[in-house]
């Protein structure tokens, strides 16, 4: 039996490596996506274009404005002379924010009255808007605190001491790059191994396999193990790139990481084999894989947090292996998670793997077309 399985594995790997298109899928898109995702997929803001409308033009207001222009986050594009220009600049997306300092700014400061500053933000991108407001508010708070101190005022009763655990500089790259390990591994395993049953069906070789004395379990192992191997190598390369190229710290051990990877690839292989066993043609298999891939990435915590989703959808994401593997990769990379702490993420992946592989094996022979 192992002899047969081994022969199937060798055949599967040869078929993948000898086919130019499969080789391309293995090497091209992952490399490009790693680079593009790694650099393009960032929530970190820098050089956000802003405009300043300073009606006060005093030393105090200049000090405040200087704190904005000196920040790497903001880049002043215009200094306005009239309030009429504000709307236009925002509407036309020339700037993302306008800082408007009231004409009585210094006077109010000195009179201990609220000195007014207005922040007008473009809400068309609400995430950028929130972050911009966050940055701007902390600059203004800093200004307030130091002005009070400089003018002999009473210090505020309490100050915040912010610290970010696991990712002290709050770098998006540290968040996104480990995520790419999961996304690309899924894409490659799904396209290369998952679709192979549909490909063999179309070529007629799958019938040939079914007529040999191989059992379902042999075919399943023969198809699944190359998936593990290819997925493992693919993931390892990206993990290496994450550590060496993007300098993401690997704080946990390799055991919890690779145990999760093993379960994840098994689950993805099972789902892929199931989709391609159900499909009549390669094209249907491709559409099926796509229809699985899109929600599995969207509903995985990859770019947008699961915590923000409606609770029904949050429950649904429990059956998404990608979601759990993302938790494993990020946990191991950034938080140094261990096997016991990741158990709640291991078993759902194991369950999906078992169910989908079983279904795929059953479909091999039962699928009528």
């Amino acid at each position: 039996m192992w002899h047969q399985v081994f022969a199937l594995i060798v055949k599967e790997l040869l078929a993948v490596l000898k086919d130019r298109k499969s080789r391309l899928v293995l090497i091209g898109p992952p490399l490009i996506q790693l680079m593009v995702f790694g650099y393009a997929a960032t929530f970190d803001l820098d050089h956000v274009p802003i405009a300043v409308y300073d009606e006060d033009l005093s030393a105090e207001s200049r000090d405040l404005v200087a704190r904005f222009t000196g920040s790497p986050v903001f880049e002043p594009k215009a200094f306005l002379r009239s309030a009429r220009d504000i709307d236009q600049l925002i509407d036309q997306r020339k700037v993302a924010m306008v800082l408007s300092v009231d004409r009585r700014f210094t006077r109010d400061l000195l009179l201990h009255r609220p000195a007014r500053v207005q922040l007008i933000v473009d809400g068309r991108n609400s995430n950028t808007a929130l972050l911009v407001l966050g940055y701007a508010n902390s600059i203004i708070t800093d200004f307030s605190l130091s002005w009070v101190k400089g003018h002999g005022g009473r210090a505020p009763p309490a100050v915040l001491e912010m610290r970010a655990r696991y990712n002290p500089t709050l770098s998006s790259q540290w968040f996104i790059v480990p995520g790419i390990v999961a996304v690309l591994t899924q894409v490659v395993v799904l396209l290369v191994i998952g679709l192979s049953v549909a490909r063999e069906r179309e070529a007629g070789t799958f019938d040939q396999l079914l007529v040999t004395p191989m059992r379902q379990i042999d075919i399943l192992l023969g198809k699944g193990l190359p998936g593990l191997l290819i997925g493992g190598i693919e993931a390892s390369v990206i993990i290496l790139a994450a550590i060496l190229w993007f300098s993401v710290p690997l704080r946990g051990g390799l055991l919890p990481l690779y145990f999760g990877l093993f379960l994840f690839v098994a689950a993805v292989t099972g789902i892929g084999l199931m989709i391609s066993s159900l499909a009549v043609t390669q094209q249907q298999a491709l559409l099926g894989a796509f229809l699985f891939m899109v929600p599995s990435i969207t509903l995985s915590d990859f770019a947008t947090p699961i915590a923000n989703m409606p609770s029904l959808i949050q429950d649904l994401t429990q059956i998404n292996p990608m979601r759990h593997f993302l938790a494993v990769v990020r946990g191991v990379f950034l938080e140094g998670a261990t096997v016991p702490s990741l158990a709640p993420h291991y078993w759902p992946m194991a369950a999906v793997a078992a169910a989908s592989l079983f279904a795929a094996g059953w479909l091999f022979r039962r699928r009528v077309y």
Partner: protein, 373 residues
């Protein structure tokens, strides 16, 4: 000329009959956008709410309670008390809480004497974006507490600068309102290219293209007959998506339908042109589908500015985004939905779309030959 119209009419009738009888084109045009819009519309949100926050108060008293009360009042937080820091840290590590707010035992003493009592805020930084948003919310709660505390004592405001925030076009700062118009652009990129690429590849696969080529129909008529029906189908899908956005997701619509329709038409032409190009490269449905997905979905997802801010990307990547048609359409849609007909945004983007449509269709026309090789 009359012959040409007759041939075009014949081809168009054939195409519509096929669409009517084969539901897969309708499925790609209407069901796929609806499915994707639902998944994304409900699944994609950047709005943090009810963030679980661990609160550790070493020495509970009235002042500390007034501070934690501000946290509890915020709609963004769901505070959970911990008796000791060690327990809270454990909860942070296991993702039970996203952040910890720690008032040390000398909090009240220092606050009342010299001031500047340090309040420890520890966030889980793994998800950097969420962490930053949570930090912003904590800061807001803290500032509110400072002002309230000072006015209670009749002291001058500790933060003399009063900030008024005006978020234009999206006062509730709801991420859904800005994500959904972008999603529509992304989905239409995919379906537009997928539709044409698949239907033309199908003609090659079934051998009917070969039969068409030997008739008197010119290549321009063949291309036009493919473009028109799927253009209409794509516009239908677009309309369905817009209606869904407005009714299911309550996204406001401030622009005019005329501008929306005109720019959608330009964008669809570019997407269909892309599909034509793909199908002239790949003559089987599987490869055409693969190329369509790889060249449209991922770039539209990352490089269109739909979710990640283009301005914050490094210059080389920013440069690449200029060839992604979705980028221009995302800008137009976000503006038309949330801001209205702002010509200064719409015109340059519409021009770019027109140029892309012309280029794609032009190349498709030039590279199409009435020949098999």
């Amino acid at each position: 000329m009359r012959d040409s119209l007759g041939r075009l009419r014949g081809l168009l009738r054939k195409e519509f009959l096929q669409i009517r009888r084969d539901p897969s084109a309708i499925a790609v045009a209407f069901l796929l956008p609806a499915f994707l819009l639902l998944i994304f519309g409900f699944g994609v949100s950047l709005d943090a709410h009810d963030v679980p926050v661990g609160v550790v108060v070493d020495h509970p008293d009235a002042l500390a309670a007034s501070f934690t009360g501000k946290l509890a009042n915020s709609p963004y937080f769901q505070p959970r008390s911990f008796a000791a820091m060690a327990e809270a840290e454990k909860a942070l590590a296991s993702h039970e809480v996203t952040a910890i707010v720690w008032l040390r035992d000398d909090f009240t003493r220092r606050a009342l004497s010299g001031g500047e009592a340090p309040v420890g805020v520890i966030v889980n930084g793994t998800d950097a974006n969420s962490a930053r948003i949570v930090e912003g919310y904590v800061q807001q709660a803290w500032a509110n507490w400072l002002q309230a505390e000072a006015s209670e004592r009749g002291a001058p405001p500790p933060l003399p600068v009063a900030v008024t925030q005006t978020v234009r076009f999206n006062p509730a700062v709801s991420s859904r309102d800005y994500l959904i118009p972008g999603l529509i652009a992304m989905i239409m990129t995919l379906t537009g290219a997928l539709l044409t690429a698949l239907v033309i590849a199908r003609e090659w696969e079934r051998g009917t293209m070969e039969a068409l080529m030997v008739t008197r129909a010119t290549i321009r008529e063949i291309l036009l007959a493919k473009l028109l029906p799927y253009f209409l189908l794509g516009m239908g899908g677009m309309a369905a998506s817009v209606i869904m956005a407005a009714t299911v997701f309550d996204v406001p619509f401030h622009g005019s339908l005329a501008v929306l329709s005109a720019t959608s038409a330009l964008f669809l032409l570019a997407a269909l042109g892309m599909g034509l190009l793909i199908s002239s490269v790949a003559r089987n449905q599987f490869v055409a589908g693969q190329i369509a997905i790889i060249t449209t979905f991922l770039p539209a997802f990352i490089l269109s500015g739909f979710i990640f801010d283009i301005g914050s990307m490094p210059a080389p990547v920013r440069f690449i985004t200029h060839v992604v048609a979705a980028r221009y359409f995302v800008a137009i849609l976000q503006t038309v939905f949330l801001a209205g007909d702002v010509w200064a945004v719409i015109l340059p983007n519409a021009l770019a779309l027109a140029a892309m449509a012309a280029i794609f269709l032009g190349i498709a026309r030039l590279s199409a030959r009435k020949r098999l090789d």
